[in-house]
Structure formats: C-alpha cells, structure tokens
C-alpha cells in the first residue's frame, strides 16, 4: 500500500513537470523499401546539401533494395563505398548558418523523443505575426524551414508535407538502426525458443523436486 501511494505520488509529480513541454506529433515509421526509398530520395534532394550521413554508404542503399539507377545518380563519380557526406563543407555551413548542421545518420536515436521529435521538428515551423519564422519544438534553431511548412495554408498541401516528413523520418530511422528488422525477427525466434525451454525446465524442476520427501 505504502509503495503504491509513493508510485502514485511520483506519477503525479512527473505529469506536472512534463505538462509545460510541447506535445510531440505522433508518427509511425514505414520499414518497407518503398517508404524508406522515398525518404532517401527526399533526404538526397532536401537535406544532403547541408547534412552528412556518414555512417551510410551508397552501397548500403543498394543492398537495402533501393533502385540502383537512382543511387548511381546520387553518387555521381563517387565510389559505391563512399559515405554520404554533405555537399557543403561543414565549415562553410557553420559560417552560413552560425552552426554546423549535425550528421543525420544517428539522429533519430540522438534526441529525446526520437522519430517523433524529428518529425515534429521538421513540421514545427510557423510564421510569427511579424512574418518571422519560428519553430515550436526548437525555438532557437538555426536551420531554415526546408520543407516550407510555415507558408502552407491549404489542407491538402499540408497532408502532402506530412507524408514527405514521414518518409524522411522512416529513412532516418532505418539509417540509425539498419538491423532493427533483423533484430526483431531473431528476437521472436529466441524468445519463442526460451519460452519452450523454460516450460521444460520448470517441468524438470518439478519432476526432480517431487522425488523429495
């Protein structure tokens, strides 16, 4: 009882503390080649100029099943084993924006809120009454509104941008954890095996102990 009360009290404190923060948008990422491929394309077009993804090589994209022709188009003369470095040198970007754009290959794991944060951040731009751009989730951010969400008033266009942002975070989630699918698949087998094994061990234990007077 005492423990229960403490836990309840702690939950109360916790919810008060977090109420002030802006609620993150919900999003479920896609893991299929189509979604992730569209995300890769969007990132190559809209983000790659400033951001690197240095833990991903062009070959990884091909191995994942993305269109070889497209990947060849993106890499130009670069080797298939070249990492996805930013087009703009980091120092230039730091000069231009006052801050170097961070590498994106681990981004969805490197922020509190993960995928939901990145999605909300990309769609979080708005125009202040004075016409200045702002962001709900990262007010002091130096990154411009690359998706152009702040100028959008039409519902259909907004939905389109949400779809694009979802593709982008799906790609970023894949690049932050490329073995996730494999891990889950293996996990189901391992846990199924352990469940059977544990039941058997339980029966063995009962069998052994039943011999005890």
């Amino acid at each position: 009882m005492k423990r229960l009360l403490t836990i309840l009290a702690l939950c109360g404190i916790a919810s008060l503390l977090h109420a002030s923060e802006m609620e993150l948008e919900k999003v479920t990422v896609g893991t299929d080649v189509q979604t992730v491929g569209r995300g890769a394309e969007a990132v190559m077009n809209d983000c790659h100029s400033c951001h690197s993804m240095k833990y991903i090589r062009y070959r990884d994209l091909v191995n994942f099943g993305m269109d070889r022709q497209k990947v060849d188009g993106w890499r130009g003369d670069l080797s298939l084993d070249a990492p996805l470095l930013a087009q703009m040198p980091e120092s230039d970007a730091a000069q231009a924006y006052g801050k170097a754009p961070p590498d994106l290959s681990l981004m969805t794991k490197a922020r509190e809120g993960g995928v939901r944060y990145v999605y909300s951040y990309l769609l979080g731009y708005y125009l202040t009454p004075e016409g200045m751009p702002g962001n709900h989730y990262f007010p002091e951010t130096k990154m411009p509104d690359v998706l152009g969400i702040s100028g959008v008033t039409e519902g259909a266009q907004r939905t389109e941008l949400q779809g694009k942002a979802r593709d982008i975070v799906s790609f970023l989630a894949w690049s932050a954890d490329p073995h996730e699918q494999e891990r889950h698949r293996l996990g189901y087998y391992v846990i199924a095996y352990l469940l059977v094994l544990t039941v058997l061990l339980y029966l063995v234990k009962n069998q052994v102990w039943s011999g005890l007077k």
């Binding site: 403490t6 681990l106 052994v208």
Partner: protein, 418 residues
C-alpha cells in the same frame, strides 16, 4: 595384456583423482553441497549474478576485438560494430543490456540479504566480500560507460572524476592523476579501457572468495535458523534444476530488452559524439547510480555531498553491527524491521526519481528529505532492532517460529545422540 589402456571417462577421472582432488571437490562443493530445502526463488539471484558476469566477460572480449580506444576513433568504432561487424549489434546490445541486468540482479540479491538478515553472524565476511563486489561492479560499469565516447560518457566521467577534488590537500592532483590529463581526454579513455578490461577478472577472483566464504558458513534460509541435516539437500539435482528454471525466466526478460527495446537503456545524448565544448542540458548517470547521485546532489556543499554519497554506498558494510536483533528469519518474523525494509525500498525509488529529473526547487527538497530518511533508517536501526527484539521476546515469538525452532532442535539432539 597388461591393463595399460585407460578407459574413458572413468579411467581418466581415476587417473586425475590420484593426482588432484577432482571428484571429491565436485562432490563436496558442487553436486553434494548441502543446501536448505526451503530456499525461495529469491535465492536464485546469486547464480544469476554469476551467469551475467560470464555473459559480460564473453561479450566484452568480442567487443574489444573491434573497439578502438582512441578519442578520434571510438565513437566510429562503436558504429562500425553496430553496422558492419557480423552480429556486432547483438554483442553490443547484449553487453549494454547486461550491465543493467547485472545491477538489477545484484540489487535484488542484496535486498534478499537485507530482508532475511543474512548479513548477520556468522555471515559478516560473506556480506563484506559482497560489498567489495558491489564496489568493483560500480567501478567497472562507470569505466565501461566512458568507452563509447558519447556526450553522456564524457560528461558523466568529467563530473564523477571531478568529485575527487574533495580529497583533502591533494584534490587537484588526484583528479589529474585519475584522468591522466587536465581534462577527460584520450589518456582517460585508454586507461579506463585498460581497467575496464581488468576489473571483471578481479570480480571473478572476488566471487571465488565470496563462494569460499559461502561454503564455509553455508546458505542462510527464509526461516533464518540453521536447519538440521535432514532439511539440507544436495545442491544437485535440486538447486541446479531450480537455478536453471530461474535462468530461463531471466533470459526471457533479458531478451525482450536486447531484441525489442535495447535503446531504452541507452541515453539519447550518448548517440552524440563527445563534445568538450558543449555541456548537455542535463547530465544523468545510468539508472543504477541514480539514488546515490541524488544523495550527492542533495548536499549543497561539494565535499559534504561526496562524503554523503560515499557513505550511502558503504553504509551497508555496517549492517552486521547496526542490526542488533537476534530474532531469526529476517523481516519475516520482525514486523518493525519489515516496515523499515519497505520504507527503504520506497526511499530508494524516490531518490532514483529525484536523481533522474533536472533539479527543481521541489525535487531538491524531496531529495534532501529522502537523503535524511536514508541515513536515519540506518542510524536508528541499533535502537529499533534491540527494542523490537525485546518486545518480540516479551510478547513471545510467533508460534510458527517457536515450533520450527523446537522441531529443528529436536532433530539435532536426535542426531547428536545417535
């Protein structure tokens, strides 16, 4: 034909037994080791701790084959392990999850000991070797956490090594000596790697001492009294069967974390490479250090905080003297001690939470109250335990316990006469 051919395996074992006490050792210390039959599942956690230790050493050695202890390379080498090394992601997630599992198992193991009063005579040395193991485990985990060279690695190590400034007279020198440099840097990383590799082997040595002590005083049991021979059963097959069943349950829980939520145990900031120029908004240690970290932060003065934190970990060593009650069976037969035990757990939970959130005025106050409760719980124990003992003796022990003591005494005299 003379008998020159040695038969496998009986002949080989006989050959060894003439030169080395193999069979008698196995029989005495492993299979035949007399174990109280009434041990509950709370007694599974010592075996589990040993299992996790092996798991950490095994995964750690394979990780070390691909890891690079160099501030320019270590973050990338972790990504190399996660992405390119065959099943590297499995090794790393097993190791990072294993550290949490180790603390979980050890904390439950210690809570069991506290609940049942197994630290009391004649098990003081056993308890103290356990205390030594806890310190070694904490040091190992702390050093290991620096190795990925993420933001939390760097800033955690900076904050904790900085605490050694509290050393009288030579504080600054001690900090530099520990870090190998003025700030946490390459020298710190390489030495932490060397020590992180070494310490688990010291832990293995200490576990051997722990087990030698255990086997000389024998396991305690939920009743708290030494059982007569008929109630001690051979370790094998009874407890091997029970321990393996427990291991199965443990592995299921562990696998859920390893395969489905491994990142829940890795702070997001640690996926950002260390940056000495940029302090994270909020530096948090791993969950298993949170209560002690909260105690550190609760004392406004740094030296005071360090002393309080050190005491909060070391205070367990005094338990054999703080608890003056001789009523057997730990908290089970001791109503006051039982309440104190649960207050202690609740207090730990509050401290853990306070350590986790960014400090606010309320959380600091809550932390200070919880710290006060923490130390009060230990300091009042000599008086309360004695008072409780007197009260229990005056009121009469629970009939269950009286009956048990009588029947066990009867068993023992029967044995003695024969």
């Amino acid at each position: 034909m003379p008998q020159r051919i040695i038969k496998w395996p009986a002949g080989v074992i006989k050959w060894i037994d003439q030169r080395f006490p193999l069979t008698s050792f196995v029989k005495h210390e492993l299979t035949g080791y007399p174990t109280p039959r009434n041990l509950s599942y709370w007694w599974n956690f010592g075996f589990l701790a040993g299992f996790v230790l092996v798991l950490q050493v095994a995964t750690g050695i394979f990780l070390a084959m691909h890891y690079k202890a160099d501030i320019a390379l270590s973050f990338d080498s972790i990504q190399h392990i996660m992405r390119d090394v065959n099943y590297g992601w499995l090794l790393r997630y097993m190791h990072s999850t294993g550290a949490s599992a180790f603390f979980l198992v050890i904390y439950i193991h210690m809570a069991r000991t506290l609940y049942y009063g197994s630290y009391r005579a004649p098990r003081e040395l056993l308890w103290w070797t356990g205390q030594g193991l806890l310190l070694l485990l904490m040091a190992t985990a702390f050093m290991g956490y620096l190795l990925p060279w993420g933001q939390m690695s760097f800033w955690g190590a900076t904050v904790i090594t900085n605490l050694f400034r509290a050393t009288p007279f030579v504080g600054d020198q001690v900090v530099i000596w520990l870090r190998g440099d003025y700030t946490v840097g390459d020298a710190t990383l390489t030495r932490f790697f060397a020590l992180h590799y070494l310490m688990p082997f010291l832990i293995i040595g200490a576990v051997v001492v722990h087990l030698v002590a255990l086997h000389s005083v024998k396991s305690s049991n939920p009743s708290g009294i030494n059982l007569a021979d008929k109630d001690n059963i051979p370790f094998h097959p009874y407890f091997t069967a029970k321990d393996f069943y427990g291991l199965g349950v443990f592995l299921i829980v562990y696998s859920v974390f390893v395969f489905f939520m491994p990142d829940s145990l890795i702070e997001p900031a640690n996926n950002i490479p260390a940056n000495p120029m940029q302090t994270p908004n909020h530096i948090v240690p791993e969950w298993y250090f949170l209560p002690f970290y909260a105690i550190l932060r609760s004392v406004p003065n740094m030296v005071g905080g360090v002393v309080a934190m050190g005491l909060s970990v070391m205070v367990f060593a005094f338990m054999p003297y703080l608890d003056r009650s001789r009523i057997p069976g730990g908290a089970h037969f001791r109503p006051m001690y039982r309440v104190l035990f649960y207050v202690f757990l609740a207090d730990m939970a509050v401290l853990g939470y306070v350590g986790y959130i960014p400090p606010t005025e309320t959380s600091i106050l809550a932390g200070q109250i919880a710290t006060l409760i923490y130390f009060t719980l230990f300091l009042q124990l000599p008086f309360v335990s004695k008072a409780e003992e007197r009260w229990l003796i005056k009121r009469g022990l629970p009939p269950e316990l009286e009956a048990l003591i009588a029947s066990e005494a009867h068993e023992k005299t029967k044995r003695g006469k024969r």
